[in-house]
Each structure stands twice: as structure tokens, then as C-alpha cells.
């Protein structure tokens, strides 16, 4: 275990725990407005203060964690579920027309600025958390497809793959039995990184009003709402901003730590 991994997973665990806890209990109900009590600084009843509607910011952060994690998780899931098989297929049929089609398709997706296209998708199909998930997920597909293909190609040249072919195994079977288990580490690490990018993307979409819609809490929306209040009540912007920062930082540290920890070569030299 290295330091990055410990700090990273601890930070991530805190937010996951907050999000999970919001299903059972939050300090206050975020759907009831309490205008007279608005823009309170941190105090005994509202640990992180209240926003311009008098809602408890801690409760909103907890509900927002839920949204962010759910959106990013499903988006990464879409990317993995479609990207990894595409990458495996391209590597198995290396040099064929199919490989060419898959990879050029990836290039096509990569060629568009992801956030702009996400805005386009949500603008056309309407702003909602589901559409945000799809928009972010689409851009995760080529990331995983490329990574999978890149990692699978050198494996295909190894003797144990040749041995499997001598045993009459089909390319699909070899991909699942031999290639996939050997690239899992890489996928986990990339998954964490894409997860953090997903959180950022969700926050960005919500910030411009194209993500989760009220009354669903979202860190990006909280930031957007706090924009005009920065000078009068800085904590309303500071708290969601820090939440995004710490969650993304935690995931990145975790990804970095996982890479070192899961890479057998690095582990051996440290042992």
C-alpha cells in the first residue's frame, strides 16, 4: 500500500459514505425552503451554513454526492461496457477493415470537444441527469477502446496466446480468457481516472443548467446558484467547490496509487 492510494481511497470513501448516508438520513430536508434563515454561515444547526433559500448546505452536499457518483459511475460503466469489447475486437482482428473502422470511429468521437457535444446532446434531448450520463458515457467509449486495444496488441504476440491458438481456441475465447484478465489492472486504473473526469463533467453540465434538474441536488448547480453570492456569502460557493476538488483529487490519487500498487513490476522492486 502506498500513501497516494491510502489518502485517495480515504477521500473517495468519505464522499461515497456521505452519498450513501443521504438515502437514510440527512441533517435537514432539502426540499423545504426556509427563506428567513437564508445565507447563514456555519453554525450549530447548519454545520456548513445555509444557501439563498435557507436550505442546509451539508444536506445538499450529501444529496449532491449521490448525483455526482451515480452519473459518473454509470457513465464509466457505459464506456467500459462498450469500449472494452470494441478494443478487444479491434486487437483480435488487428489490421483488418473492422479494426480500421473501430479505430477511425474512435478518432471521430475524439475529434469533437466532449463538453460541447454533451451540451449539444442535452440541448437537443432536454436537460436531465439521464441525458448527462449518456453524453458523458459516449466520450468514455473511445478512451476504453483505445486503451484496451493498445494493451491487448502486445499480449497477442506472446507465446501463451499462440499456445491457446494451437489448442484451437477462437479469438473471442482467447480475448475473454487470456487477454481480459491480463488488462484488468489497467482498466481499473483508467476507470478511476475516467470516474473523476465524469464527476467534473457532471458538475460542469449542471453548472450551466444542463445536468440534473431541481429539486435534485447537484454540486455544479450549487456552484451556479452561489455565483452571485460569492462576495456576501462565500461559504455557499466554497463548500461545493471544495467538495468537487476533494472528490476529484481523491479519485486521481487513488488511480495513481492503484497503478503503482497493481503493477507487478513496480511492486517487485519495492519489495
Amino acid at each position: 500500500m502506498n500513501r497516494n492510494l491510502i489518502i485517495g481511497s480515504a477521500l473517495t470513501a468519505v464522499f461515497v459514505a456521505l452519498g450513501a448516508m443521504s438515502f437514510i438520513w440527512t441533517p435537514a430536508d432539502i426540499e423545504t425552503l426556509d427563506i428567513p434563515n437564508r445565507l447563514q454561515g456555519p453554525n450549530a444547526t447548519n454545520l456548513l451554513g445555509t444557501d439563498h433559500f435557507g436550505r442546509d448546505i451539508l444536506s445538499m452536499i450529501m444529496m449532491g454526492a449521490r448525483t455526482s457518483i451515480a452519473v459518473a459511475l454509470v457513465a464509466v460503466g457505459i464506456g467500459m461496457a462498450l469500449g472494452i469489447p470494441l478494443g478487444l475486437l479491434a486487437a483480435a482482428r488487428h489490421g483488418s477493415l473492422l479494426d480500421e473502422l473501430i479505430m477511425r470511429g474512435n478518432d471521430l468521437v475524439f475529434a469533437f470537444p466532449s463538453l460541447v457535444i454533451a451540451i449539444l446532446i442535452t440541448a437537443v434531448f432536454g436537460a436531465s441527469a439521464v441525458n448527462a450520463i449518456i453524453a458523458i458515457g459516449i466520450f468514455n467509449i473511445p478512451v476504453f477502446a483505445r486503451l484496451t486495444r493498445g494493451a491487448a496488441l502486445p499480449l497477442w504476440k506472446r507465446d501463451f496466446i499462440l499456445a491457446a491458438r494451437v489448442c484451437g481456441k477462437s479469438a473471442t475465447r482467447i480475448s475473454v480468457e487470456h487477454i481480459l484478465p491480463n488488462i484488468t489492472n489497467l482498466m481499473i486504473v483508467q476507470g478511476t481516472i475516467q470516474f473523476s473526469l465524469g464527476i467534473l463533467a457532471e458538475a460542469a453540465l449542471s453548472y450551466i443548467g444542463l445536468g440534473a434538474q431541481p429539486p435534485t441536488a447537484s454540486w455544479g448547480r450549487m456552484l451556479a446558484d452561489a455565483q452571485t453570492l460569492v462576495s456576501t456569502a462565500p461559504h455557499t460557493a466554497l463548500v461545493p467547490g471544495l467538495a468537487i476538488l476533494l472528490m476529484v483529487l481523491g479519485l486521481n490519487l487513488m488511480g495513481d496509487g492503484l497503478r503503482d500498487w497493481l503493477d507487478p513490476r513496480i511492486r517487485v522492486t519495492r519489495a
Binding site: 506472446r158 507465446d159 501463451f160 499462440l162 499456445a163 491457446a164 491458438r165 494451437v166 489448442c167 484451437g168 481456441k169 480468457e177 487470456h178 484478465p181 491480463n182
Partner: protein
Amino acid sequence: MSLLAITDLTVSINGTEILHDVGVRMSQGEIVAITGESGSGKSMTALAAMGLLPRGAVPTGKIKLEGTDILQTSEPDLCRMRGKAMGMVFQEPMTALNPVQTIGDQVAETILIHEKTTRADARERAAAMLDRVGLKVAPTRYPHELSGGQRQRVIIAMAIALRPRLLIADEPTTALDVTTQARILDLLRDLVREFDMGLLIITHDLAVVADIADQIVVMQKGQVVEAGPAHDLLANMKHPYTKALFAASAHAVALPEPKPSAPMLNVQNVVRDYPITRQRLLGPRPMFRALHDISFQINQGERVGLVGESGCGKSTLTRAILGLEDVQDGEIRLDGQPVFTDKHPNLAVRRKMQVVFQDPYSSFNPRHRVDRLITEPFHLLEQPPTGPTREAAIAKALGDVGLSPQDARKYIHEFSGGQRQRIAIARALIIEPELIIFDEAVSALDVSVRAQVLDLIADLCRKRPLAYLFISHDLTVVRTVTDRVMVMQAGKIVEQGETETVFAQPQHPYTQTLIAAAPQLPQIAMAV
């Protein structure tokens, strides 16, 4: 005064002693060979002499190069010495050169680092040095345009550009073909004489040692077990390990007599073409003919060798026989059935063949247990055994290769190179194939382990009718484990016949060159 004097060198990493009281002494114009098996500490000794010990290694003792103690010298001073006072040649010519720099510039770089001179002058001297090492190509070429032997010459030119007093060569010919190896060894010998430098050569190949060395140092487990002038040491080996090492190198196995039998594998007029890179944009892709009209037969229970240098088409032929790739012309039949039909490999035929690869470290999926690894060929059977039958088959296959049934639950990283090669053989044997292809199967192993694996193969031949095609560049090994041998050059089989006949009276000029180039173990050692 001696050129290099290593005394009481002990190196430990994390408290484990890697080298123990190593002593090596050499003078100018002398060739000293350090030999031993993997893990004996021979490379570590060479690295210590260059001041290049890995981080975390703690050395004690003395390494004196012309009076300067390497171990007491600071890193900046060592940098000034490396390349100037001592040069180093590495094993792998494919990775030791920078692919984006011309070879002339890489040699010139060594000169520019150490001497205040103009780039033009350095280039000129680099060109002269490349010429001296016998490289017949322009210094403006890039490494990828050169063959392995040519690259090794460039690396030697880099190492001797400033005429160092000490040249260290770590397995300089291991990655090369025999004919290239012979020429590189000649070059090294000439350079030592001409420049009056000392050459410290590290090699596991005892034939090379006997061929080139003035002094021999035999190492085992980090200790020098025997050292002395080459002639004396070879004539009169004292330490049992030295004797065992030489005996294992010359190890001959006792194959059972071949019985007359029916033909099994029939390769007829096989041609294999590969498309290569287009010469111009959108132009036609030229074809490279890797196999020219290859024809041969292997009978049931026959042991056939295939020798040839890298790039001669051995691997292409293996793949064609295994039905992994289709051929452009001709036919390969096993027991009368084609190995490749209608663009698909014929599974009914393939279950009669298995293969053992060279590299014991890449032949297995690191994430599977041994039982799963060796039962992979069961995939070829229509009804793979399950339950107790499967367990019994695993236990039998492991037992056949001298491992225990308990090993089935282990992962591959728990085994040594020799054990892995045994597991590879177990995997090949588990479906009881008629033909096994050994593709350089013992080339990556230490001599003593190699001897054991060869014994295992001979033993298997006694237990059951086993035909194999033994592909190797090592003529000594091929000579002992085969009944018949084929010699391949540039995609053609230039000679084939009874192994002993071919080795004793080679007919084709290429076979003669190959046999002449292979370094011989001295007869004195064979008698042990």
C-alpha cells in the same frame, strides 16, 4: 601492475548477499571470461566494475582499475571514466542503440562527451572506428536498417571509440546467430590485440569461453569457485561445479533406437508469401517469399531437427505446420488429412500436434493456475475429461515431466525457468499428441537445466512413441536429440539427412559454414 584487480568484492542488496568475496585480476591485452549459470553473479560483477551497481546495492571490498578504486570514486568522476577508461558492450543489440539517431552520431557522441573537439572531427573519427569494426555501411544509417550483427559492431565501436583500457562485454554474442557470433568474437580478439586493452567477457556459453579466453573465472551463487589460465583450467578442472558445468554443456542423451515406421507428417512443395510495406503510396504491396518450395516428411516416432539462422523461415514453417496460417502453395498433411482446409485450421488434425515454445516466461498466462494452463489443449477434444478423469490426467502429465500433482494448484510465477519448461511439455503431452514441435525449447535454459530437460525428452521417447520436430540454432543440442536433421537457409531446405551423417560430412556449403562457425567445447572437457 594489473589493469583490473577486484579483491574481496561483496555486494548485498537488502541484506541478501549477491556477491561474496569475489576476486578477479587481469592485465593489459588479456581476455578474461567470467562464466556461470543465471544468478551466479557474473553480470553483477561486471556492473560493479563499471560502477553501475543497481540502487540499493551495498558493495564492500576493492575494485582497482589502474590504481583507481571504482568503489571510492564519486559518480561525476565515474562518468568521466566510463567510455574513456572503460567501455561496455551489452547483450541485446536490438535495444542498446537509440533508434532516432544515426549510428555515426551515436559513436561520435561518446567522443564529444569526453573530448573537446569539433563535431566534424568527432564524426570523422566515428566513421573511422565504424570502419575498423568491419561495418560496411555508411555512418548516416539508422539502427533499424542494420542486422543484429551489424548493430553489435556499432555498439562495439561506441565502446572502443576512445580506446579504453578495459572493455567489458556482457553476453555480447548470446543474441546472435552462430556465424555472426564467430565473426564478432574474431573482431573482439583482434581489437584486444591491436589496442592492447583488457577484455572482460561475461558469457554462459562455455564453448565461447574455451574459444576466446586467456583466463577463466567460474562463478556459482555469487562466489568464484575456480579461476585460472584457460589452458590449465580446461585441462585440469578441480571444482566439482566446473566439471558439472562442462559435462552439462556437452550433455548427450541416449535416445532409443528409431524403429522403421510409416510416414505421418507430409509437407509438400510449401510456399509462403508475406506482403511487405508498399514501396510507394498506393503502389502494389511487394511480396516476400518466406518459404520456397519446402518438402519433407516426418515418420511416426521420428525425431527430426531443424537448424538455421534467424530469419531463415523456421518460425514461419512452424506456424504453417500447426495450421495457424495458410500457405500460398503446396500442402501440409498429417496422417493424410490437410492441416488447413477452407481458410480454417483443421481441428481434427490439430489435436494430434502440440508445441513447446522457447521463452518459459511468456509461454503461460500469469493469471491462471497450472491445472488450468496444462489442460488448455483439452479444448481440442470433442469430450474433454471432467472430474476425476481430468484430475488423473493432470496428475499423470505432471508426473511424466517430474513434477508433483500438488503443483497443479500453484501459479506459474512460483516456478523456475526449467520447471516452467517442464510444465510446457506437460501441456503439450496432456492430449497425447503424435507430433510435438519444440521451437527453441531449451535455448533459454541454463546448461544444467537444459541437460535435465533433454534427458526428460529422451525419457519420454522411451516411454511412448513420440515424434518431434526439434527447432534450434544450437547444433550441439540438435546433434544429440535427433535422428534426422534438416538445414534451412533463406526459406529453403538446403540439406537433410541422418543427423550423424550431416554433422560428420556436411555436403552443402552453408551447412559446412554453420558447423565450422559453431564454437567447440574442448575435447579435454568432453572426457570428464
